[in-house]
């Protein structure tokens, strides 16, 4: 599984909604070996500054045939703020593709994607891939419509597409887990759930899936220093032992059973 640490030129970086950016860089080498659910580590510091010190992990959101990769991200702190100031033509160092992405399960004709807020980021490539084969159900939730400005990228992929927002500004008023409950009531036959979003949401999704005996893959987040298994910092407790999963190396996508959901950081 080849990985590359390359200086990538910024093609564009529009602000899609308040604090949400879509960064597109040219990185053909990374693109060629990228799988749905994988991520990259992006250098956010300027020039020779060492503050912020660490790179930031971002999921690969979209790829284009011409070697372009896009990252969909939210400005939440120092690092993402600096990144958002970068302009087309500038260079940003990108290390990737990293981690184990989603595993496609052949005997599951119905795939339910559950995304919360910017947790949709790793799901687009997956949705595109699934779309070529089985039945794709997409459920997306957010606080309000402006938190998910790229929703059109998903809505065209399948007619089984539902949105819930807490303030009702888009789709149904409520939580994405409400949508999932409805879906689980309706579907018959084998299914597979893929989810990414805030920890409490994923936890709820997993417990709902387990009740129905539906396998569930989750994409986790953890603070990372290296993204490639060197530092052992990105630990998440395992469900079955004293040990830890390492989000960057064995993840970020895990079978939800593996994770100790009761551990709160």
């Amino acid at each position: 599984m080849p990985r590359f640490d390359i200086p990538a030129r910024i093609i564009e970086q529009p602000q899609l909604a308040h604090g949400i950016f879509l960064l597109t860089v040219k990185a053909p080498a990374i693109l060629d070996s990228a799988n749905p659910g994988q991520f990259c580590m992006l250098e956010v510091k300027y020039n020779n500054s060492s503050d912020p010190l660490l790179r930031r992990p971002l999921s690969i959101y979209k790829t284009r045939a011409n070697g372009q990769i896009s990252f969909l991200y939210k400005e939440v702190g120092k690092g993402t703020r600096l990144l958002s100031k970068r302009r087309p033509g500038e260079i940003v160092r990108v290390l990737g593709p990293l981690g184990q992405g989603f595993r496609l399960i052949d005997d599951r004709p119905q795939c339910i994607l559950v995304g919360g807020g910017l947790g949709i980021a790793p799901l687009l490539l997956l949705a595109e891939r699934i779309n070529q084969s089985g039945k794709l159900i997409i459920l997306i939730g957010a606080g309000n419509a402006s938190e998910i400005p790229t929703i059109e990228d998903f809505s065209g992929l399948t007619r089984y597409f539902h949105i819930a927002t807490e303030d009702g500004s888009l789709g149904q008023r409520g939580m994405v887990t409400d949508l999932l409950a409805q879906t689980l009531r309706e579907i018959t036959g084998m299914a597979q759930i893929y989810t990414c979003g805030p920890w409490p949401m994923m936890k709820a999704v997993y417990y709902m899936a387990r009740k129905k005996n539906i396998p569930c893959q989750v994409s986790l987040e953890a603070a990372m220093a290296c993204g490639i298994g060197l530092c052992l910092g990105c630990a998440v407790p395992k469900s079955d032992s004293q040990g830890f999963l390492h989000v960057c190396r064995e993840g970020p996508v895990f079978d939800a059973d593996q994770v100790n959901w009761e551990y709160s950081q």
């Binding site: 010190l53 220093a225 060197l230 530092c231 407790p237």
Partner: protein, 311 residues
């Protein structure tokens, strides 16, 4: 400043000696920041480096501390990994075979909970094919027993040194903690107890509080501070220890660029270890090595040892 008057014709000689150990150049990867080597495959050409010091190994496998284990600080990184590692048996069985094929000197970092444990691990490594030296970590701030407790007490540090010396014929580097009042005291003790070399510094004990959750940011409360922030402290201690003992000193702490490495070599370090900088940019060590070579060529310095400043 040394001007480029007579550009040398031979390429500079970067090889160094640490006791009986010959390294092809003075750039090593620091323990805990290069995994077991494999993780860097394709991102850094290990064959180019002077050596690789693998993650600290204990007798038994250890899961390490609960998360969160990492916090970024200004120009620094706090970690509380807590010596998660596969244990000596699995290291020899599963990791060593791959490492034997790498054309660099393999140094194994070890950590015990008692003097006996240090000796036991050292003995196990003594016969292990491919292992070129041992780095004895008496400075880990992230484990309850052992670790730093040995490094802050000169007498205990000497005891570990003697025990490991007895247990193995491998060259032995003692890695010191900076969390002490007088680093030269510990350094002198381990030198006279038979250490072949000293490496320093391990991380400085630090902490951070998450003001949003109103809790210590690390589950373990305290962690070890590394990265560029600590470079001035590391350099000062290396300078002091170089002038206090007669054995080789290896400098580590915040080295990210060739200029950083040159500061340590000028202070008298025989070699340098790259730690946190590898986490930030996997190729750092190669870049540092190239920069040292360039500087030596530009300034007509033939041997890397000659970088040391005159007293």
């Amino acid at each position: 400043m040394i001007h480029q008057k007579n550009p040398i014709t031979q390429s500079p000689n970067l090889s160094i000696k640490i006791g009986s150990l010959v390294l092809k150049n003075p750039v090593l990867l620091a323990s805990g920041t290069c995994g077991y080597g494999t993780e860097l495959d394709g991102l850094l050409d290990l064959d180019q480096l002077g050596g690789i010091i693998v993650k600290g190994i204990s007798i038994k496998p250890s899961p390490g501390n609960p998360p969160p284990r990492l916090v970024e600080t200004p120009c620094g990184l706090l970690n509380s990994i807590g010596l998660e590692n596969v244990g000596i048996e699995s290291f020899i069985g599963d990791k060593l075979p791959w490492l034997r094929n790498v054309k660099t000197s393999l140094i194994v970092n070890i950590l015990g909970n008692s003097v006996e444990e240090y000796a036991e691990i050292a003995k196990k490594l003594d016969g292990a094919e491919g292992v070129k030296a041992i780095e004895v970590n008496i400075s880990c701030p992230n484990v309850k027993a052992g670790g730093i407790a040995f490094g802050t007490d000169p007498e205990a540090a000497a005891n570990v040194t003697r025990a490991v010396k007895k247990a193995t014929d491998l060259p032995m580097i003692i890695k010191l903690t900076p969390n002490v009042t007088d680093i030269t005291k510990v350094a002198r003790k381990v030198a006279s107890a038979g250490a072949d070399a000293i490496s320093l510094i391990n991380t400085l004990l630090g902490m951070a509080i998450d003001i949003k959750s109103r809790r210590p940011a690390l589950a373990n409360v305290f962690g070890g501070l590394s990265g560029p922030a600590i470079k001035p402290i590391a350099l000062r201690m290396v300078w002091q220890v170089v002038r206090a003992v007669d054995i080789p000193v290896i400098g580590v702490g915040g080295i990210s660029s060739p200029d950083d490495a040159l500061e340590f070599l000028m202070a008298g370090a025989k070699a340098v270890e790259i730690g946190t900088a590898t986490l930030v940019r996997p190729g750092t060590a190669e870049n540092v090595l190239a920069g040292i070579r360039d500087y030596m060529e530009a300034n007509s310095i033939q041997n890397v040892d000659d970088l040391r400043l005159p007293e």
